[in-house]
Structure formats: structure tokens, C-alpha cells
Symmetry: C2
Subunit: 196 residues, 2 copies
């Protein structure tokens, strides 16, 4: 096999979920059927890896100093939703009608990994809570042990800035069969049962 | 979402088997965890899409005029294996101990798609059969209707050059359960049964 082709197959494996077999299939298919698409992807990838940084205000990915949401001015400035990662922000934008602002931590508090409030930009967040007239901090960290610990810290931070803190509800996923929901979730959902 | 990030997600979909969800996951994961890997992939992809052509002799992918197999000189020059696509060549190299040469058609005969012998480079093949002292043409086209028709044509071509033509054996795949093997294969395998 061509050395360059072998290198392409190896390098494609930096993509998540791409093993040796699918990397090989991708390389051959691009060469055989879509060289233009491959060239376009190469150019966009190079541009994105270097050009996409973090919005100065919310820390979401942005190729400009301020992202479209922060620049837009049509968001409810009283609502601020804090997430662990940009992909969580994208999921909330795609799934909900939320029209407030965001803050992205790019991680969660973790003593083991040496990530404290400063690494997550929480000094910047504290300033926003004090200066922007935020009324509610919606804490949308993951429902993991570290995510819950981070949520607890953020709730304290909000309280000290006199901002209401809320947390996404736990419960049975839509379409979820009780049989397959984990016990902790089931217990929480049972405890938070609502009248019909 | 950043316009550049959205373009990256769109462009990643030129990869086979990558839908909107996995393209999004790929883009975010590269940005968050492996920008160096992404930059390396971009550079290799650009180089490969432009630099990889066809070996002048066997028509396999090669960034040089002659591929490593054709240049090597340690192959059995009496054996020539003909395949539809470079990925079939790679599969044979990886799975078998074959030490002869190859010829890649980059397709199969198809009246509907306007692919005749010339489009598949079979004039080049005919020259090789006459000039290189080939003793056996191993026809490794796919076991599809068009692949079989192409094999038939190639067998005629070999006969007219006084070269023996062989075809890969049909049969039950290793580990294949008879129950799930298609009828045609089962009939062929039954007809070609061998004594133990
Ligand atoms: Zn922003
Ligand atoms: Zn070659």
C-alpha cells in the first residue's frame, strides 16, 4: 500500500469512533469517489483547528472574539445557563426553546485532575453574576458525581451573588421503560412524582 | 453555533458512514481534545487527495509513477491477479500469502454506465498478458452479476493471449451457518463439494 495512503488511514483514526477498518474504507472511498469533498474537508479542518477559539464572554467555541449569541442582543439577559462543554450547549439549543445566555466551563471541578474554579473560568462567571443583572443561574452540569459536586459549588456561588440557582430535573427519559431505568433515577423520579 | 464549526460538521459528512450526529461529535471532540491530530489529518488529507494517483503499470493507488509492488521486483511475474478496486487488492494482500502482481480495473464492465474495456484499462492489461510472460490470470472480480460478466470477458481475453484464467472459489464462508447462506452460494458449494 502507498505510504501516503497508509498515513491517511492512520491519521483518520484521530476521529472518535473510527477504527482501522472504517478508516480504510473512508480513505479508499474519498480517493475513488469524492476527492473534491476530501479537499474541502482538509481546508475546513485546518481552518477550524486553528481559527476556532473561545468566546470572550461565554467561552463557547467561536472564531470571533464574541460568539453569535453574545453579540446578538436578543437574548434574555436575566437567564444564564452554565454547562460543562460546548456540545451540551449545542444540545440545549437544539432541543429547547431557551432564550437566555450561556457559560461554558470546558470541564467540571475535579481535585484529581487539578481542575479548580479558576481553570473553569468561574472568576469570570462570578463577575457576570454581579455585573449583568442575572436573576437565575440554570445549572446544567452532567448528572455524574463530579457534575453534581460542581453543581453544588455553583449553587453556593449563585447564592453569594444573590442569584437564584436552578438545576435540570431528573427523571425517567421520554420513552424510557421503567425496567431499564437505573435505580437512582427511578427513586428520584418517584420522589418527584407530579399530579396529573 | 459558530459558522466555521457548522461548516466543519457539514464537511465531515463527506466521510462514508458519518451522519449529522457523529459529524457533530467528531468536530467537538477534535476541538476539545485533539487539535494537533485534526491539523495533522487536514495536512495529510490535502496531500493525499491531490498527490495519490494510479500506478502506471497496475493502476493501484500510488503517489509515485510505479507502486511499491510493481517496483519491488520480488513478485512472481507469472501470476497476475485482476480486481475491481484498490480496496479489493488491499483485502487480498492482507488476507492471503499471494506473491504475484495485480491489475486494478477501477470498476467493472457495465453497458448501462458506459464502462467498456477501454474505461477499465483492459488494453493495458492485454499488453501485459502478451509482453510479460504471464502464465495465470487470477480473476478476483466480485460475485455480482456485473462482476461475473466481467470475469467472463476477462477469461476470453486471457484465452486469446494463451494465458490460463482462474477464478476465486465460491462456497460457504468460514463460520457461515448453512441456514443463512443464500441459495445460489449453497448450490455452488454443494456442487463443488470436496472429499475429506
Ligand atoms: Zn459567547
Ligand atoms: Zn503498480
Amino acid at each position: 500500500m502507498s505510504a501516503l495512503l497508509r498515513r491517511l488511514i492512520d491519521d483518520l483514526r484521530c476521529l472518535p469512533g473510527v477504527g482501522p477498518k472504517s478508516a480504510q474504507r473512508m480513505a479508499y472511498q474519498l480517493l475513488e469517489r469524492d476527492r473534491d469533498g476530501g479537499r474541502r474537508l482538509a481546508a475546513t479542518l485546518a481552518e477550524a483547528m486553528t481559527g476556532i477559539g473561545h468566546c470572550r464572554r461565554c467561552r463557547d467555541y467561536s472564531e470571533n472574539e464574541l460568539c453569535a449569541i453574545c453579540l446578538g442582543g436578543n437574548r434574555d439577559q436575566q437567564l444564564l445557563c452554565i454547562v460543562e462543554s460546548p456540545i451540551d450547549l449545542a444540545a440545549i439549543e437544539q432541543a429547547t426553546g431557551y432564550r437566555g445566555n450561556y457559560f461554558v466551563m470546558h470541564g467540571r471541578l475535579s481535585a484529581i485532575d487539578g481542575r479548580g474554579p479558576r481553570e473553569l473560568g468561574l472568576d469570570l462567571l462570578a463577575n457576570r453574576l454581579l455585573e449583568e443583572g442575572v436573576q437565575e443561574l440554570i445549572i446544567a452540569t452532567n448528572a455524574t458525581v463530579e457534575g453534581e459536586a460542581t453543581a453544588h459549588y455553583l449553587a453556593e456561588l449563585a447564592r453569594s451573588a444573590d442569584v437564584r440557582a436552578t438545576r435540570l430535573a431528573h427523571g425517567v427519559p421520554l420513552g424510557g421503560e421503567l425496567e431499564f431505568v437505573d435505580r437512582g433515577t427511578l427513586a428520584l423520579a418517584f420522589g418527584s412524582r407530579q399530579s396529573l
